[in-house]
């Protein structure tokens, strides 16, 4: 059984770098080949990367999306960005309801600020985040008719979950009704506009006149929650214990973070660890692994996301999907998110992205689509998830329509034969002096992180394509036609392999 002190094989190192980043850069591959650090030491190094928000410029929503994409394509701090994407899905908020780009970019900065910080502080801040307040109706929560939208999703999606990991309910409808009272009266100030329209600095504030005070609504009963779940006893927990008014929403968070599941374990710790394991390791992690990483990191007392991640990245369960081909029915693999696929591909191929004033952010020489349109077709529009539930993962990413979108993206990359920015130059990532078909295929697969992910039969199919059905024994990559047709075509096919859709 491995742990933080275990040595990393080159394969495991490649896996660690891939899963905590976006594909493998040339430097990553060198690191993997030469690494002598233990799991813990290398993980610590990766975790030291500091989150840095994108420079949002421009004045429209699509400008903001493009800015984020460019940032992702070139940032050195990849692990924080992977985390921000996870939190973006977790605290799902979308422009369609929020309406103002400036609020979305402000929330994006919040996600960066807390990406690997203190999860409890994160939730406290999210309660007051203007974009979230718009998205889930906190701004429309009035004392006459408390609105349940945010309280329900706070419990269901952001913290406890409807049921614990053993299938037992975590809360009742009564709890939601009471928590809704705590959130009455919260609004946010009108935004302070800077010159660039996509930055806003709105701030939440508490309007006493709109708040549900017990004295005014005695028929609603005491401000008490969790009388039947959570381990607080029949008396439950009072969220006006620190006084009525603005403190209530903070006290609610205190109570949520003290909630215990049907086995007496901390509910939020288990659920958050479960979700992070699903994201970085594989679907359906076992309860035993969940409890181990929580225990190792003491996440249930310190709420330190970075510590929890260290426990996850040094645990054997994280390395399960590193298995090499050929696979068998019990092999576990995880499906790449569209953003993983797109950014991973762009970075692996050494492509430099820049937004063109007129044409937006596209792959030059390729198809007609903007990169964010590719992502939308694959089912993942940044800053506009399909609902408060975020995106559905794993196989749900792969329907005929979204697979087709991945194939279209692959074609566009392959067809990008230009000069300059936003284009794909194979010579940046492999030597054009190679002539042996197998060596060329190997080189392409290595660039794309597929070296050990294709079976012999699959590699033979790619070699067959390169050699035009076996008729060519030597390939001249310096010949323009061979380069533009065969080599580009080979890359596109590799991007369309089933294995490339997976981690």
């Amino acid at each position: 059984m491995g742990d933080a002190n275990s040595q990393l094989t080159p394969a495991d190192t490649r896996h660690l770098l891939k899963r905590t980043g976006f594909g493998l850069s040339k430097r990553d591959r060198r690191t993997a080949a030469r690494n002598r650090k233990s799991r813990g030491a290398l993980v610590d190094k990766l975790l030291r990367a500091r989150p840095k928000s994108p420079r949002f410029k421009g004045d429209s929503f699509s400008d903001a999306q493009d800015a984020w994409l460019v940032h992702l394509s070139k940032t050195k701090a990849v692990l924080p960005e992977k985390l921000v994407l996870f939190w973006h899905d977790h605290f799902s908020t979308g422009i369609d309801v929020v309406g103002r780009t400036g609020l979305m970019t402000q929330q994006n900065q919040l996600l960066h600020a807390f990406a690997k910080g203190n999860f409890k502080e994160f939730v406290l801040a999210m309660n007051r985040n203007p974009a979230m307040m718009e998205f889930l109706d906190t701004v429309r929560n009035r004392k006459e008719n408390p609105n349940e939208n945010y309280p329900r999703e706070l419990c269901e999606l952001f913290t406890l979950g409807v049921k614990d990991l053993l299938g037992q309910p975590n809360y009742t409808q009564d709890d939601i009704v009471q928590i809704a009272r705590a959130f009455t009266g919260w609004r946010y100030s009108a935004p302070e506009r800077r010159d660039e329209r996509i930055y806003e600095r709105s701030e939440a504030y508490f309007d006493e006149g709109r708040h549900d005070f017990s004295a005014d609504f005695p028929e609603r009963g005491p401000k008490t929650i969790f009388t039947s779940t959570g381990g607080f006893g029949a008396g439950g927990a009072a969220f006006d214990a620190n006084g009525e008014g603005p403190d209530e929403i903070d006290t609610v968070v205190d109570i949520l973070f003290a909630h215990r599941d049907s086995e007496g374990m901390n509910t939020i710790a288990r659920r958050t660890a479960y979700r992070l394991l699903e994201y970085f390791a594989h679907p359906e992690p076992s309860l035993a692994v969940v409890d181990e990483v929580v225990a190792t990191s003491n996440f249930d007392t310190n709420w330190n996301i970075q510590a929890l991640l260290r426990a996850i990245f040094t645990h054997d369960a994280f390395y399960v999907t590193a298995e090499a081909a050929p696979f068998n029915p019990s092999t576990i693999k995880s499906v790449k998110w569209p953003i993983d696929l797109v950014i991973g591909t762009v970075r692996a191929l050494g492509m430099k992205l820049k937004v063109d004033r007129e044409r937006g952010l596209r792959i030059e020489g390729g198809g007609r689509s903007r990169i964010r349109s590719h992502l939308e077709e694959m089912g993942q529009e940044l800053m506009n998830p399909p609902s408060v539930f975020g995106w559905d993962w794993e196989v749900a990413w792969l329907s005929s329509a979204t697979l087709l979108a991945r194939f279209v993206f692959a074609r566009d990359i392959g067809a990008a034969r230009g000069r300059g920015r936003n284009t794909f130059l194979p010579k940046k990532v492999l030597s054009l002096r190679l002539t042996e078909p197998d060596a060329i295929v190997d080189a392409v697969l290595e660039v794309l992180g597929l070296s050990d992910q294709l079976s012999g039969a699959e590699r033979a199919l790619l070699t067959d394509y390169l050699t035009d059905g076996g008729t060519l024994t030597s390939i001249d990559l310096k010949d323009d036609d061979t380069h533009d047709e065969r080599l580009h075509g080979l890359f596109a096919l590799a991007l369309q392999t089933p294995a490339y859709q997976l981690h």
């Binding site: 349940e148 068998n328 576990i332 794993e394 979204t402 067809a415 394509y465 035009d468």
Partner: protein
């Protein structure tokens, strides 16, 4: 006993051999037509109203009849600012007859005038009070309950998925979702469900700068996916193999359906465009596919479809009878789209072979909040088609104060003596499976819709797959 398709293909030699490279090849393998002992020459469309449609304002009491439905309604739905009360005067033109339980006259929401027209033709079944035991107010939980027909949450396959899995195999493409993701109702791993947003755009992406090697590229792509769906792979790879191949072959057959439809049915095409709504546009895609199947286009065999309209989660600004209100607009969009779709298919001579089922993951709170409604419990379903036995089925839920639970929701009941007895949605599904999709009654219970256990008054322990809205 006639053997099923699946048994037939298991016994015959492997379907994978030969012919996958040539798109026009029929015979063993992909794109077979459905056997007559399943859906036969019929079609089935699921239209999901996403977000929790306010049932009380969709099928509403006009008067009290022999009970107190209208009186209770007026107590819960306000007039004035923010009020969503639908006045009797607004509902009467939309009357659909009497509630079986209380005798109260019922009317459809004014936005559904087109649906009322179809109702008057006898082609709409309104099924009241549909829900399930121990209902959940969570979108996610409740959607899952309806899609898997497994309220306890133990199943991960869709209810229609289990039907498809029992009747088709991996090389079939019997179903299409007009969406980006496989609809939850259809989820399973035995057969392929196409997902396509617009058939015209569903083309395989080839690099057109270099055409000379397109055949070789296609063959390589095809073989790579065949390798993934060969035996001995993890299920996610098999899934990609199946989906990739289905996508490849469908991209070669489906886009032409758009051109054919536009050419042959231009006025209908324009009519959908004039509606200018996502529901109309999505239903048009289904019409194009059905037209293709009806015309015998090779390699197009989808007969099961799913489409969704979103926006029903009207916590605020729901609106009542005002044509600018959000609920009104949702209803009008769907009613208009369905009427056009119906007329289009009738004109094709296919409407008697089509059945459309509407559902939502829950109804909404009986007392309104400020200007909308929160999540609720039972709500109406609709079944529409040329062969449907129109009318009002099931009972309007009891909305008197004494009958609501502590949250203000109507209560689910299977008590035979209860005049307000709920309809379990699985009875609606079962009736469709039995009377439209020809699935044997016993097989429905074992393979698709297992019964609950528990108190018969509170759980679905006795099925009724003969509700009567399909002959």
């Amino acid at each position: 006993m006639a053997i099923t398709r699946r048994q037939f293909l298991k016994r015959s030699s492997t379907a994978a051999a030969g012919g996958l490279l040539a798109p026009s090849l029929l015979g063993n393998g992909w794109m077979q037509q459905a056997f007559a002992d399943t859906i036969g020459d019929r079609y089935f469309v699921v239209l999901f109203l996403d977000g929790g449609n306010d049932g009380l304002n969709t099928v509403s009491p006009i008067d009290d009849g022999g009970g107190l439905l209208r009186t209770a309604y007026d107590g819960w739905r306000n007039t004035g600012v923010g009020g969503i009360n639908l006045a009797p005067g607004v509902l009467s033109p939309q009357a659909i007859g009497a509630d079986p339980g209380t005798g109260a006259q019922l009317g459809l929401h004014p936005g559904l005038s087109d649906l009322k027209t179809l109702y008057d033709l006898g082609k709409v079944a309104v099924v009241q009070g549909c829900g399930y035991p121990d209902f959940s107010l969570s979108h996610d939980d409740s959607r899952r309950a309806w899609r898997t027909a497994s309220p306890g949450g133990t199943s991960s396959t869709g209810w229609m998925g289990r039907y498809l899995a029992a009747n088709y195999v991996g090389t079939d493409i019997p179903a299409a979702g007009i969406s980006n993701g496989v609809p939850g109702e259809f989820v399973q791993s035995a057969t392929s469900v196409l997902t396509v947003r617009r058939v015209r755009d569903f083309r395989f992406p080839y690099d057109t700068s270099f055409r000379s090697d397109i055949d070789l590229k296609r063959a390589t792509f095809n073989d790579l996916h065949e390798a993934a769906r060969a035996g001995g792979q993890p299920s996610v790879l098999t899934h990609i193999g199946n989906a990739g191949t289905a996508t490849l072959l469908s991209t070669e057959a489906y886009p032409a359906l758009h051109d054919t439809y536009q050419l042959d049915r231009p006025t209908w095409d324009q009519a959908y465009s004039d509606n200018n709504s996502s529901t109309s546009n999505d239903l048009r895609e289904i019409a194009k596919i059905i037209y293709g199947v009806e015309s015998g286009v090779p390699n197009v065999n989808a007969r099961f479809f799913q489409v969704r309209n979103g926006g029903y989660d009207t916590h605020s600004d729901q609106g009542g009878a005002d044509p600018d209100g959000s609920h009104f607009n949702l209803h009008q969009e769907v009613g208009r789209a369905l009427k056009l779709f119906y007329d289009d298919l009738a004109d094709m001579g296919a409407i008697d072979k089509v059945c459309v089922m509407l559902f939502s993951e829950f109804g909404r709170r009986i007392p309104q909040n400020d200007n909308g409604t929160d999540h609720g419990s039972q709500g109406p379903m609709f079944v529409i088609g040329g062969n449907v036995v129109g009318g009002t089925y099931g009972n309007h839920p009891n909305i008197e104060e004494s009958a609501l639970d502590r949250s203000g929701n109507t209560v689910y009941s299977q008590d035979g003596a209860d005049a307000f007895r709920s309809t379990d949605f699985r009875d609606v599904y079962g009736t469709i499976l039995k009377h439209w999709l020809n699935m044997p009654h016993g097989q429905i219970v074992t393979d698709v819709l297992p019964l609950d256990t528990g108190d018969p008054a509170e759980w679905w322990t006795a099925e009724n797959f003969d509700m009567g809205f399909l002959p």
